[in-house]
């Protein structure tokens, strides 16, 4: 198929070489009872790229992200991560593998400050014993200082110094999204999953968020997989795009290729389906 050939292109649209395969989804099928959410989908995510998953409502995008994230376990298919087949895991085990995510409907601790919320993202890096933590001695103190520095670097990176001590429940939506991104970033993920990072934002907030996503990718070399509705944003920032419709893959390639793909155009303009 022509799609798989396109997916194998070795440079990004702006000419950056693509890294090796970080994650590969092989023939994934996910069912909820009788409902087939994802049907026999295969695609890969390569190191250092920004990979978008798009599709109309109900296409299976969020389910796909939840499969990558280990929250759903597909009935069929294989997930290969860093060259090894991944077994069914709990989400926290996945987090330890270096996969972090944000949520479509913000999932922050509303009563806690920005700083504390982002600090929770470092939990995978806290290994001191309970005893040491209670006494605030040795390893616990050292770890907290290190973690705080990492958190502060991210606060600086996302330009949210002014809301460091503000309870996140009081923040406007766009800033809460940024805090959530911050919490995912401090985990120092090698793969960052973003579930509709621009949903509900105004143009200015979208521009800011796009810039942060690009900066994260460039500064930290983080591989990013994102779901997004806003076509303009997706086409601007993604290196490669996979298009889903009714749980099936209908396109895969660079933004330009996807834009010219008839199946994709039909799906978005609402051509009646055969099945």
């Amino acid at each position: 198929m022509s799609e798989s050939q396109l997916a194998a292109a070795d440079t990004t649209p702006d000419g950056r070489p693509l890294g090796g395969t970080l994650m590969e989804m092989k023939n994934i099928t996910l069912r909820f009872g009788g409902v087939v959410a994802i049907k026999d989908i295969s695609f890969d995510i390569r190191e250092g790229e920004i990979r978008a998953i798009i599709g109309p409502n109900g296409a299976g995008k969020s389910s796909m992200l939840n499969v990558i994230n280990g929250f759903y376990h597909p009935q069929e298919g294989e997930i290969w991560y860093r060259g090894a087949r991944r077994k069914a895991m709990k989400p926290y085990q996945i987090a330890k593998l270096g996969i972090a995510r944000t949520f479509q409907n913000i999932a922050l601790f509303k009563g806690m400050s920005t700083l504390d919320n982002i600090m929770t993202g470092r939990f995978t890096h806290m290994n001191a014993s309970l005893f040491s933590q209670i006494l605030w001695h040795g390893k616990a103190a050292r770890e907290e200082n290190e973690n705080r520095e990492k958190v502060e670097r991210i606060i600086d990176f996302l330009e949210i110094q002014s809301i460091r001590k503000t309870p996140v429940g009081r923040l406007p939506y766009g800033l809460q999204k940024r805090v959530e991104l911050g919490r995912a970033l401090v985990a120092e993920p090698s793969l960052l999953l973003l579930d509709e990072p621009m949903a509900g934002m105004n143009v200015e907030e979208k521009e800011d968020m796009s810039r942060f996503i690009l900066d994260v990718n460039e500064e930290f070399g983080t591989t990013i997989a994102l779901i997004e509705h806003d076509m303009g944003v997706v086409m601007d920032i993604s290196d490669r795009v996979v298009v889903l419709d009714y749980g099936r893959k209908i396109g895969d390639g660079t933004p330009d290729e996807v834009r010219g793909n008839q199946a994709v155009i039909d799906a978005y303009l609402g051509v009646p389906h055969d099945d």
């Binding site: 705080r148 502060e152 990176f157 110094q161 900066d215 460039e218 500064e219």
Partner: protein
């Protein structure tokens, strides 16, 4: 101090730096909040940073007299860069960091800059965008590397790389640097600052080391500034005030300059630092007072009552206590109680607990606002100055502080008022020239060194205080022959927290009218409390109930104008509320927020016509420029409103 050099031996900023290393070597010279922690550098450490930066500049090929642009927010590295450029024989030219590419291109080209320091990617991008127009620009030095990883390195380097190169080249560059430092004296140029100017292109004001050091010395002695004072540097580096406070006075007295973490955290950083010496434009004090009032509106009844009673007493006796006037023991006791319960905590919240000396300048400040801060026991004073004077023209001495004057001539400043009421001055701070602009220099500064300020004013006979009426060229006559002083009226209108900006028209017309900008914070809060729904600035500005409020303010202003025999002809007959805020990106106000009357008049010509032809409403299409230089347009239907005119109080007809 064993080897105390004579004071006048220090003629230049680099010489003052050397003295500070000797005298206060281990005292903090700069602080910067970074990663949530205040980092500090002593005078000795700062001098070492400056030294390697200066060596780097020599190594890069900086020649004596070269202009070096400095663009960014208040940051120790950029302050070091300014002094390093001076050490290396160059002239620092700080630019407003929020100027667009075109504005920057003009200045960079005009001053033939070969090198520039840019804070971050945003500033680098702006310069890159116009690089083709700037063939003389050789290289850029940046402070924050974020986002610049992929940029070519031929013309671009990190400041630490510049310093490393400088240290590496020490063997050859050190001798050159030393020679250049030796050659500097009071007459060499210290800095060039571009004035935004309410008319025309910016002009480069050349200030010598004598200007800077003398102006700093005299003003520091006037207010007895000490080396243990501290300031928060948050005003634009391109503004002469910041240069004199954060470099001139800081180097002269050896106090510490604190840089906030970001523009948004300024208020929190202010609280943490608790500066003893604080400068802010009237707009800042207005905004702060508005936010206090808004928070008090939402407070509980008991707190409201406490605040009201404490403030009433503070307003009655606070200013007198500050001025050292006699105050009864009972009132003192009551003030102490108010201080303990309300004033102290409030000052702490505002970050002003330790302010020993506060200044405001640039615009007139509302008497209510001024008195509020003085009532709190904050020694807020006014001064009058301009770039061409290295700030100081007049200044208010302790004990003679008033809202309506700008004080007496600063030390060693001479003032005279010409027959057209224009204020002229001559001082040690008087600038050398406008760069590459001998005509303007000649028309502003006469051969004897007197400089025309362009402001009309008079000296009060009994106190010797200067009072500024208006910009000299704006003062005119209405068609009916009454005196017309727009700024005077605008200031009266702007004293209302609901009103951010006002532009009054009326020269050579039969009556006066005004454009009003509402203050989004104050009016927005009112809307919230009164269940007035709005989605945008434009919608709120066009709300009929907002117009009612503004109308009542204008009515009060008219009544107070009617009592003034000279200005009763300036009453506002009609007004409208603009659908957008006046914006420096559109050229409507300067970066220091002074209204460009001509521009506003031209851009909104149709609105102005409508104010005079009696129409009820008018449809406008306005082009706006976004921060990144892109253009767009907004359209609006604007209502015009008639204001209530008060009867003139004509006491003696012959007075005017």
């Amino acid at each position: 101090m064993s080897s105390h050099k004579r004071e006048n031996a220090y003629e230049t900023v680099p010489q003052l730096l050397a003295r500070n290393v000797h005298q206060f070597g281990n005292n903090p010279a700069y602080r910067l909040k970074e990663l949530g922690i205040w980092q500090s550098w002593t005078w000795a450490e700062s001098a070492a940073e400056i030294d390697s930066m200066a060596l780097g500049l020599v190594d890069l090929g900086l020649e004596v007299g070269d202009h070096v642009a400095i663009i960014g927010r208040n940051h120790p590295v950029l302050y070091w860069a300014m002094v390093a450029v001076q050490c290396a024989g160059g002239v620092p030219v700080p630019l407003y960091k929020d100027s667009g590419s075109e504005e920057m291109a003009f200045v960079l080209e005009h001053c033939d800059a070969r090198f520039a320091f840019a804070e971050d990617q945003e500033q680098v991008d702006k310069i890159m965008e116009v690089a083709e127009q700037l063939p003389k620009l050789e290289s850029l030095v940046f402070v924050d590397p974020r986002g610049l990883r992929k940029y070519g390195r031929e013309k671009l380097r990190h400041y630490q790389d510049l310093q490393a190169a400088g240290r590496h080249a020490r063997d050859t560059a050190a001798a050159v640097l030393e020679e250049r430092l030796q050659a500097q004296c009071a007459d060499t140029t210290a800095v060039m600052l571009y004035t935004s100017g309410t008319t025309g292109r910016p002009k480069g004001v050349v200030l010598s080391n004598r200007n800077v050091v003398q102006a700093s010395k005299l003003s520091a002695e006037f207010d007895s500034l000490r080396h243990d004072d501290s300031v928060l540097a948050y005003l634009p580096m391109a503004w002469v005030g910041d240069f004199v406070f954060s470099i001139g006075q800081a180097y002269y007295t050896g106090f510490c300059v604190n840089c906030p973490e970001s523009a948004d955290t300024m208020q929190a950083d202010l609280r943490e630092i608790g500066p003893s010496y604080f400068f802010a434009p009237p707009r800042y004090f207005e905004g702060l007072l508005t936010s206090v009032q808004i928070r008090m509106e939402d407070a509980s009844r008991l707190k409201k009552w406490l605040f009201k009673s404490a403030m009433a007493h503070a307003r009655a006796v606070g200013p007198d206590l500050l001025d050292g006037k006699p105050v009864g023991a009972w009132d003192r006791l009551k003030y102490a109680l108010c201080d303990y319960l309300v004033i102290g905590p409030l000052k702490n919240t505002l970050g002003m607990s330790r302010v020993r000396l506060g200044y405001t300048a640039g615009e007139a400040i509302g008497p209510d606002i001024f008195d509020f801060y003085r009532a709190l026991g904050i020694n807020l004073k006014q001064l009058y100055g301009q770039t061409e004077a290295t700030v100081f023209i007049t200044i208010q001495p302790d004990g003679e502080v008033r809202a309506d004057t700008v004080g007496v001539p600063a030390p060693e400043v001479e003032i005279r008022i010409d027959d057209k009421d224009e204020v002229h001055y001559r001082s040690p701070g008087t600038f050398i020239e406008y760069f590459k602009n001998p005509e303007s220099t000649a028309s502003t500064k006469d051969p004897e060194g007197w400089v025309a300020t362009g402001d009309a004013g008079f000296i009060e006979e009994d106190t010797g205080h200067l009072r500024i009426i208006d910009r000299a060229k704006d003062v005119g006559k209405t068609a009916t022959g009454d005196m017309f002083a727009p700024k005077f009226v605008e200031n009266k209108i702007k004293f209302y927290p609901d009103i951010l900006e006002a532009v009054v028209f009326g020269a050579d017309r039969d009556r006066c009218t005004a454009f009003i900008n509402i203050d989004l914070t104050a009016v927005g809060n009112w809307a919230e409390r009164n269940n007035v729904a709005y989605a945008s600035y434009q919608e709120l500005a066009g709300h009929p109930r907002v117009a009612e409020i503004i109308s009542s303010h204008i009515e009060t202003v008219n009544r107070s104008l009617a009592e003034d025999e000279m200005l009763s002809g300036c009453q506002i007959h009609r007004f409208l509320i603009l659908h957008k805020e006046l914006d420096p990106d559109d050229g409507e106000i300067t970066r220091t927020r002074k209204v460009r009357r001509r521009v506003v008049e031209e851009r909104y010509a149709d609105l102005l016509d409508a104010l005079y032809n009696g129409s009820e409403n008018v449809h406008v299409e306005t082009e706006v420029t976004y921060e990144d230089g892109r253009k767009g347009s907004i359209s609006a239907d604007i209502q015009l409103h008639d204001a209530v005119i008060a009867d003139r109080v004509r006491t003696v007809e012959s007075a005017a």
